[in-house]
């Protein structure tokens, strides 16, 4: 099957950096990476011309309710880079903590990623290091700094997150 063949190629390409593979669906392959390896992995895919970057999704993973020890766990953010190749969808997944929310820019390899990276920056508050244009894309120019609407802590302008800033 075509899709299987494409995933075999992708798995071989990403072998040096992949921490874990998952197949949530017949058309999907999820590859878990650490942030430091992202650029090399994307470069590997781009050089082999494996598909195209279809979208970058951010997800706010709020920590589970306080555990027995009463310690507050830190929330994490997940960034998914979706590459599509025919029916196959490959997602490179990296997780980063709130306190260290930055990812490297992939624009050096895929110039069209700029729009997705700007979205990630203004909606999730993830700093994309070395992205060519860090300006607002969809939010108004007078949008307050430090308010990131797609974080779960943002529930409107009366939310604690917005009050703080």
């Amino acid at each position: 099957m075509e899709t299987e063949k494409l995933f075999t190629i992708a798995e071989a390409l990403l072998k040096p950096w992949a921490k874990e593979y998952k197949r949530p669906d017949e058309n999907r392959l999820d590859v878990y990476l650490v942030r430091e390896d992202l650029l090399e992995a994307v470069e590997g895919l781009a050089q082999a011309r494996w598909g195209y970057l279809s979208a970058i999704s951010g997800v706010d993973l709020v920590p589970p309710a306080q555990d027995g020890t009463g310690e507050n766990q830190e929330g994490r953010l997940e960034v998914l880079y979706h590459f599509c190749n025919s029916a196959a969808v490959l997602s490179l997944r990296i997780e980063i903590p709130y306190s260290d929310a930055h990812v490297p820019s992939v624009c050096g390899i895929i110039p069209s990623a700029t729009i997705y990276e700007r979205e990630l920056m203004e909606l999730f508050g993830i700093t994309v290091v070395d992205t060519p244009v860090p300006d607002h894309l969809v939010l108004p120019d007078d949008w307050p700094d430090g308010v990131f609407p797609l974080r779960k802590s943002f529930t409107g302008f009366d939310s604690p997150q917005a009050q703080e800033s």
């Binding site: 969808v89 110039p111 069209s112 302008f157």
Partner: protein, 391 residues
């Protein structure tokens, strides 16, 4: 002595004189020639992705169908296909067929709307009026099927609301036959009319490599010979049984983008006929639980403007945990800013409409400006305002 080179910037928008939606463009020019282009979007940003997280799976369908007025059905399809997959249900074949018929009718409607706007930008208002008059045929068919012209709202999570009766079937067949004749005439115009070709031939040329690299999708990519069509690559709804043939053109210029969009419609008409003559008999809906099991799904469909991408994550509750929407216009903007360089400023409106941009799709809070200052209205306020206004 070194001469200081100053950049001259022509700002256009946000109230755009040509496009009927708001977007801001800054073209740096050297005389008449464009040397750089930047785009600022977000003037109609509504925060739909955030809103989905506080609404139930059912409520979200109605909201997501309103991401875009031109391609409302395809957003509903991308969402319902994803949610149905998460819920593990299969929609009955007749419902799939009706969904696909409406999808293709929507493509006809959207491309004909675009043809009109593009002709208008090219100074060819006769063609604009012709194509918009003929487009009414499809709008009437939508009204016939669903009672609505624009927001047809045909979908349900788990099926469709409306059946197609034998009488309606005949009317749809008659409608598309009329349109087929008209489209042949439009195809002749766009490929032979000298004045029109003068505005489109070799304008905004994009090679296959550039289109691939810039991540173009839909007719914009196919006009540069890039084989990208989700209906073909990863068929959904009734496309596995009624495959579509991909329509490509190697030209890569504006003429090619016109040709691809018009020829695609002949393919749409063929598929509509094929499905209507083989309309399966079955129920129209299947039961879907109110809580959707935890998991994530990626749903890709081919909107009139190209690949529409939904990433849906459920935490097992009544509301989605996260929905990410990537609309095709967003991908195609990148092509405009790079293709614009080297062209005359006067070609910009044509180049912009060449990708068939849809701003509502890109921009998804409402700030109401009042004399006393601005006031931010939330959903509840807006609803109250709406209810009181119409009392």
């Amino acid at each position: 002595m070194q001469e200081k080179v100053e950049k001259f910037i022509v700002p256009i928008g946000p109230q755009h004189p040509a496009l009927k939606e708001p977007g801001h463009f800054e073209f740096s020019v050297d005389g008449e020639e464009v040397t750089g282009a930047t785009i600022r979007l977000g003037f109609v940003h509504r925060g739909i992705e955030k809103m989905t997280e506080s609404r139930t799976w059912i409520q979200n369908l109605y909201m997501l169908e309103r991401v875009c007025g031109i391609c409302s059905h395809v957003h509903g399809i991308a969402y319902t296909l994803g949610v149905e997959k998460l819920a593990g249900v299969t929609v009955p074949p007749r419902a799939q067929a009706i969904r696909t018929i409406v999808l293709e009718l929507e493509r006809i409607q959207s491309h004909m709307l675009w043809l009109g706007v593009a002709a208008h930008e090219g100074g060819f208002d006769t063609l604009f009026m012709y194509s918009w008059r003929d487009r009414e045929t499809v709008m009437d068919l939508f009204e016939l099927i669903s009672g609505n012209r624009v927001q047809h709202s045909v979908n349900l999570v788990g099926g469709v609301k409306y059946d197609i009766t034998a009488e309606q079937k005949q009317k749809i067949l008659d409608g598309v036959s009329y349109l087929e004749g008209r489209l042949q005439y439009y195809e002749k115009i766009i490929t032979t009319d000298d004045t029109f070709l003068g505005r489109t031939r070799n304008v905004g040329k994009m090679t296959k490599e550039e289109a691939t690299l810039l991540g173009a999708v839909g007719p914009t990519a196919r006009a540069s010979g890039v084989e990208r069509d989700v209906r073909v690559e990863s068929p959904y709804a009734s496309y596995p049984d009624h495959p579509v043939n991909i329509v490509l053109d190697e030209g890569g210029d504006l003429t090619s983008r016109f040709i691809v969009r018009i020829r695609e419609l002949f393919e749409s008409i063929r598929v509509i006929r094929e499905i209507l003559t083989n309309l399966p008999e079955s129920e129209l809906t299947v039961r879907v639980p109110r809580r959707i099991p935890a998991g994530e799904v990626i749903s890709r469909v081919e909107a009139p403007r190209g690949e529409l991408f939904y990433y849906i994550k459920s935490a097992g509750g009544e509301n989605p945990y996260r929905i990410k929407i990537r609309t095709p216009s967003l991908c195609n903007w990148g092509t405009v800013s790079s293709v614009a360089i080297g062209h005359k400023l006067a070609d910009m409106p044509m180049l912009l409409v060449g990708i068939d941009p849809c701003f509502s799709c890109n921009d998804r809070l409402v700030t109401v400006r009042q004399e006393t200052g601005s006031q931010t209205m939330y959903w509840e306020d807006l609803r109250k305002y709406g209810v009181e206004y119409y009392q």
